[in-house]
Every structure is written in structure tokens, then in C-alpha cells.
């Protein structure tokens, strides 16, 4: 369903099937729609069998990195005598992305179920759902769903009468994009500043509270339930392209487009048709200029690249970008690219945790230069400086926020250099701001 619009016939609605049905938010309504059947089935299986089914299905992390989910789950060594934890990353903060928000506000029980299945599969008794503080509505629905599930004995001391303990707790964030980075999320959950940790150790060895931990995105966990019910083959077949990209993927579409919203299509769907057909194309009298297809952290595509792209993990890379979080930001010809990119840089500067030098200083410096260019005060050297700062910010820090800031800047300058140069040349005079340094 292209929520909030009517579903498009070319969508494949698995996870989004019940969007807009108020009744699906309640336990009764959810059960009526087949809810918790997958959990029931899972609790009758061996955890390793669940992991194998998920592995077989080809499900990959929907948060951005695309790591194979079954493989991630298999890193959790059973019987190591330590408590295991499952963290659900519902800190959806990537600009352009709002699919997890929709999933949680329309199908909260699906997430409770997904968390319970995931926890059971990795040998965890506790799952934490870390939801960003701004998501007041999803928070409300998730808390209701958890409460209902506890009351009905679906989760708790004896989940669905299986004798297994599965606790699900909702944890509210407090305003920090970086807490969507898995190790920062764990730090934040522990009651610390959301500073990403150095890896190794990886979460499966030492995660939250120093214990083996798996972190999965909302969409990933929710997808586990239909996979268990319908089998790995069913999921694998939902792909028009690469065998490495299977199933359906949610895309949140925003920006200058006729029908923004959340769409669910199978892997390998042609991006051109997606943009012009499902999303309704550009606004009246305008033309698409660029697309950021996977949330603000991925390279900007020009339309030539975008229109040739097949929508899956490999397809977006071939198209000069990345699938990322599936947050499609569409930019039309009325938007000055420099302004768009400067505002993105400012976002990253605002959200940098400030640990690593290149990120702390680089994001702010980049922002200042871009805003100067935007305001007509740029110099010719600025573009080279920006590219060089971007280079310094890439691949050198603890997490990838620094890289994420550099990505739109570098790809933006490369693909839309003309717009930058026009602003720089349009300057009447060049006051030489004395280098304070």
C-alpha cells in the first residue's frame, strides 16, 4: 500500500497489508489477521531451525547495511552461559526514512511478534525496542501492544505456554540520530551518551551490558514472521533480480513527488517505473532532477542513473548509490542543490556525537563552507577544499556518520558541479576573509 494513498496494483503488500486499518493495532484485530501464528510456530521449533529458515530465505538487514539476518543470528552462540539480548533498532532517524514509523503505528503487534521470534531464535530472554523519542505515536502504540501481549501471556514468563521467558521492553530515546548506529544505540540503552563504540568487539560477542547482543531493524524483525509461516522459498521467489536480494522492501518516498508515502515492492523493481508510476511522477510543471534513494547517507543519483536502476542491494550500487534504509528523497528542478546539500551537511554536523576529530570538526567545517557558497560568498578553492575534507572524513572514524556527511557533498559536487560554480561566479566581489588561523 502506498500509504497514505490507495495501494498500487504493482505493489506486493506483505508487511504493509494492514496499514490504515485501525483495528489491526489491537491484539484481537491482529489475531484476526493471523497474528502470533508465526510466534506459535517458532516456539515449537528449535532456535537453530529458525535461524536456518531465515538464512535460507536470504533476508538481509533492512536498516541500511544489508547484512544477512540469518547469518547475524547464527553468531549468537547457544549455551555460552551468558544472558543474550535482542535490540530492535526503531531509532529511525535517517532523513527521508519513515517506514518503521508506519510499521509501528499500524502494526505494532507485528513488531512484538517479530521481537519475540528473534529473541527466541538467538537465545535471548529480553528484547529492547529502542524507539526514537520524537515518535510519540509509534511509542504509544508499541506500549499498548506490549501491554496487551503481556496480559494475554503471549510474552512474559511463559510465552504462549511454551515455558520460555521472553520479555519485550520499549525504550524511549531522547533525540540523537547517532543512536541509530548499533553500538551507539547500545550505549544509549545502557544510560550513556550515544557514542559509537570501537569494533571489535562486535555486538554478538560483547553488546549491550557487555553481553552477546543482536541488533535488528524493525522491518527485518517483522519480516521474519511471514518467512516462518510461508517458508524460505516463498520469500526467495519474491525477487525480480539478484538471488542476493530477496523478498519485499519498504520504501518511504518523500520530497518533490506527486504521491509521497510508504511503498512495498519486491526486490529488483525498476526504479524508473517506481518513481513515475507508483509515486505518480513529478509535481505539475516540474521535472525530477536528482534522487537520494536510501536515506541522506547515500550518494545522490542524477536522473540518468536513477532511471536505469533496479531496486535492490546490488542494483542501487550499480546505479552509483546504495539501497540504504529505503528512504527515497526526490528532488525536482525547482530546488537549488547547494541548499539541499548544505542543509544535509548541517544535519550531520548537528548530529555528530563529536568523538572523532574528523567528524566533529569536519561536519561543521563542511557546513560552514557550503552555507557560505549558498549565500554567494564561496570561492573557487572552496570546492577543492570540500572534496578534500570529504576525503579526510571518509573511512577514518569509529562509525560512518562522518562518511555519511561526506557522501552527499562529494557526490553532489561531482554530479551538480555547475550549480556550485554558478553560485560562486555570481558573486560580485570577493572579500578575502582573513584566515584566522
Amino acid at each position: 500500500m502506498g500509504f497514505p494513498h490507495h495501494p498500487h496494483p504493482r505493489e506486493t503488500t506483505v508487511l504493509t497489508k494492514h496499514f490504515g486499518e485501525a483495528d489491526a493495532r489491537t491484539l484481537a484485530g491482529w489475531k484476526k489477521r493471523g497474528g502470533y501464528k508465526a510466534l506459535e510456530k517458532a516456539l515449537g521449533m528449535q532456535p537453530t531451525d529458525i535461524v536456518n529458515v531465515v538464512k535460507e530465505s536470504g533476508l538481509r538487514g533492512r536498516g541500511g547495511a544489508g547484512f544477512p539476518t540469518g547469518l547475524k543470528w547464527s553468531f549468537m552462540k547457544p549455551g555460552d552461559g551468558k544472558p543474550h539480548y535482542l535490540c530492535c533498532n526503531a531509532d529511525e532517524s535517517e532523513p527521508g526514512t519513515f517506514k518503521d514509523r508506519e510499521l509501528m503505528r499500524w502494526t505494532p503487534h507485528a513488531l512484538v511478534e517479530g521481537c519475540a521470534i528473534g529473541a527466541y531464535a538467538i537465545g535471548a530472554e529480553t528484547a529492547y525496542v529502542y524507539i526514537r523519542g520524537e515518535f510519540t505515536e509509534p511509542l504509544y502504540w508499541m506500549e499498548q501492544a506490549v501491554k496487551e501481549a503481556y496480559a494475554a501471556g503471549i510474552i512474559g514468563k511463559n510465552a504462549m505456554g511454551s515455558g520460555k521467558r521472553i520479555d519485550v521492553h520499549v525504550h524511549k530515546g531522547a533525540g540523537a540520530y547517532i543512536c541509530g548506529e548499533e553500538t551507539a544505540l547500545m550505549e544509549s540503552l545502557e544510560g550513556r551518551r550515544g557514542n559509537p563504540r570501537i569494533k571489535p568487539p562486535f555486538p554478538a560477542v560483547s553488546g549491550v551490558f557487555g553481553m552477546p547482543t543482536t541488533i535488528n531493524n524493525v522491518e527485518t524483525l517483522i519480516a521474519a514472521a511471514p518467512i516462518l509461516l510461508n517458508g524460505a522459498d516463498w520469500y526467495k521467489k519474491m525477487s525480480l533480480s539478484s538471488p542476493k536480494s530477496t523478498g519485499t522492501k519498504l520504501y518511504s518516498v518523500c520530497g518533490n513527488v506527486q504521491r509521497p508515502g510508504t511503498y512495498e515492492v519486491v526486490m529488483g523493481f525498476p526504479f524508473k517505473e517506481f518513481l513515475y508510476d507508483l509515486c505518480g511522477g513529478p509535481l505539475h510543471g516540474r521535472k525530477f532532477k536528482a534522487v537520494i534513494p536510501g536515506g541522506a547517507s547515500v550518494p545522490i543519483q542524477n536522473m540518468e542513473e536513477a532511471e536505469a536502476t533496479l531496486m535492490d542491494y546490488e542494483g542501487f550500487v550499480a546505479g552509483g548509490s546504495m539501497l540504504g534504509s529505503g528512504g527515497v528523497i526526490v528532488i525536482d528542478d525547482a530546488q537549488p542543490m547547494v541548499t539541499v546539500i548544505a542543509r544535509l551537511a548541517r544535519f550531520f554536523a548537528h548530529e555528530s556525537c563529536g568523538q572523532c576529530t574528523q567528524c566533529r570538526e569536519g561536519t561543521a567545517w563542511t557546513t560552514k563552507i557550503l552555507e557560505r557558497i549558498r549565500d554567494g560568498e564561496g570561492t573557487v578553492e572552496d570546492l577543492d577544499t570540500l572534496l578534500d575534507i570529504g576525503e579526510q572524513m571518509t573511512g577514518k572514524t569509529i562509525c560512518v556518520l562522518s562518511d555519511s556527511c561526506a557522501v552527499p557533498v562529494i557526490s553532489g559536487i561531482k554530479k551538480f558541479r555547475g550549480e556550485f560554480e554558478a553560485l560562486i561566479q555570481g558573486r560580485r566581489f570577493h572579500p578575502v576573509t582573513a584566515a584566522v588561523a
Binding site: 497514505p4 544472558p83 529511525e92 532517524s93 535517517e94 532523513p95 527521508g96 526514512t97 519513515f98 514509523r101 526514537r132 523519542g133 520524537e134 515518535f135 510519540t136 505515536e137 520479555d167 521492553h169 525504550h171 524511549k172 530515546g173 531522547a174 533525540g175 540523537a176 540520530y177 544509549s188 540503552l189 545502557e190 544510560g191 550513556r192 551518551r193 550515544g194 551490558f209 518511504s252 518516498v253 518523500c254 520530497g255 518533490n256 509521497p260 508515502g261 510508504t262 541522506a296 528512504g327 528523497i329 528532488i331 525536482d332 539541499v340 546539500i341 542543509r343 544535509l344 548541517r346 544535519f347 554536523a349 548537528h350 548530529e351 556525537c353 561536519t363 561543521a364 557546513t367 560552514k368
Partner: protein, 182 residues
């Protein structure tokens, strides 16, 4: 008119509305609220993990998180006030100063920016009489800030007024939204 939050310019000045800052501090964690905290502590293997939820409780009860509030939380969770302050200042949603009765956050990150979020901000500033981002209106009712991505980009421009999340706000909807608060 857009305050440059980047680059060391100090965070918004809330001092114009500091009456609450001078009132004597009343402990938050007593009675039912203390029991709420005790229940929270059962969810985590460490006391420290209850820090963010505990701070949320302080903000819910007092409208903001004062130094005294941080010290109180620190005491319950066996932390030092300096540690708690380090955490509070990391996150943007804890108010370290009193704010208006209606705290209005308008998303202006690029996806909303290209859909006209700037005009929504201007409309709010005009209609709330706050004048400047981060300042509280003279009647103590409104504080308007720009906020980074609220995660509802398909519903540009999303606005949060206190806990209420409002989608697809356009400048012409602003007077009606404000009227509803009255």
C-alpha cells in the same frame, strides 16, 4: 533569522522565560513516581540503564530537567551529577531550561526543506509572537524551534507540539493549529 546551531554559536537562549528556574526544587521521585522508577529498574540489569527513562519522568513532571533534577536522578541511580549532565546535554529532547507551555518543533531537514518547511517555521514565529527561534513568547505560551528530521518526511512538514505529532503542516494551517491549543 536562522540561528546557526553549528559552529559554536550558543544554543537558543531560553532565559527570557526563567521564572520556573527560581522556584524551590520539589523532589520528583516520591510516591507513585518513585514506584514507577522502581518498576523501570526491573527492566534492566543495571541501574544506569534507567537513566534516560528517569530523565523523561523528570521532564514530564517538571516540564524541564534542572540541575537539581539531574542531581536527584543521579542519587537514585548511583551516578554522579556530572555524569548525568553529560548525558542530558548529549540528547536534544531534554529541556535544560524552562520552555513555553507549548513547545513547537518544526522539522526543517532537507526532505522537508525542499517541501517548504522554512515557510512553516516563519508562520509559527509570526503567529506565536516568539520573534526568534528558541525564544519563548512574552506570555510564556510558545517556544518554537527548528528540529532535525522528525522521521515523517512523506508528511512534510511534520510539526510536534509538546507530545502531539502533526503531519503535513502548511503555513496556512498554522493559525488553525494554534487556535486549537487555546
Amino acid at each position: 533569522m536562522t540561528p546557526d546551531l553549528v559552529g559554536g554559536v550558543e544554543s537558543p537562549d531560553y532565559a527570557s522565560h526563567d521564572r520556573a528556574a527560581h522556584e524551590p526544587y520539589v523532589a520528583v521521585f516520591t510516591g507513585d513516581v518513585k514506584r514507577e522508577l522502581d518498576e523501570l529498574l526491573t527492566r534492566y540489569p543495571t541501574k544506569m540503564a534507567a537513566l534516560l527513562p528517569a530523565l523523561w519522568i523528570v521532564q514530564r513532571e517538571r516540564g524541564w530537567v534542572s540541575d537539581e533534577g539531574m542531581a536527584e536522578v543521579a542519587g537514585f541511580l548511583d551516578l554522579t551529577p556530572a555524569y548525568v549532565k553529560g548525558v542530558v546535554t548529549f540528547y536534544t529532547m531534554y529541556h535544560q531550561h524552562p520552555v513555553g507551555k507549548y513547545f513547537i518543533q518544526v522539522c526543517t531537514t532537507s526532505p522537508c526543506g525542499i517541501c517548504g518547511a522554512e515557510d512553516v517555521v516563519k508562520a509559527f514565529l509570526r503567529h506565536t509572537n516568539t520573534g526568534e527561534l528558541g525564544l519563548t513568547s512574552p506570555d510564556g505560551r510558545y517556544t518554537v524551534i527548528e528540529v532535525e528530521c522528525l522521521g515523517a518526511c512523506g508528511f512534510a512538514t511534520p510539526v510536534m507540539i509538546n507530545e502531539e505529532f502533526i503531519e503535513s503542516v502548511t503555513p496556512d494551517r498554522v493559525p488553525e493549529l494554534l487556535a486549537r491549543l487555546a
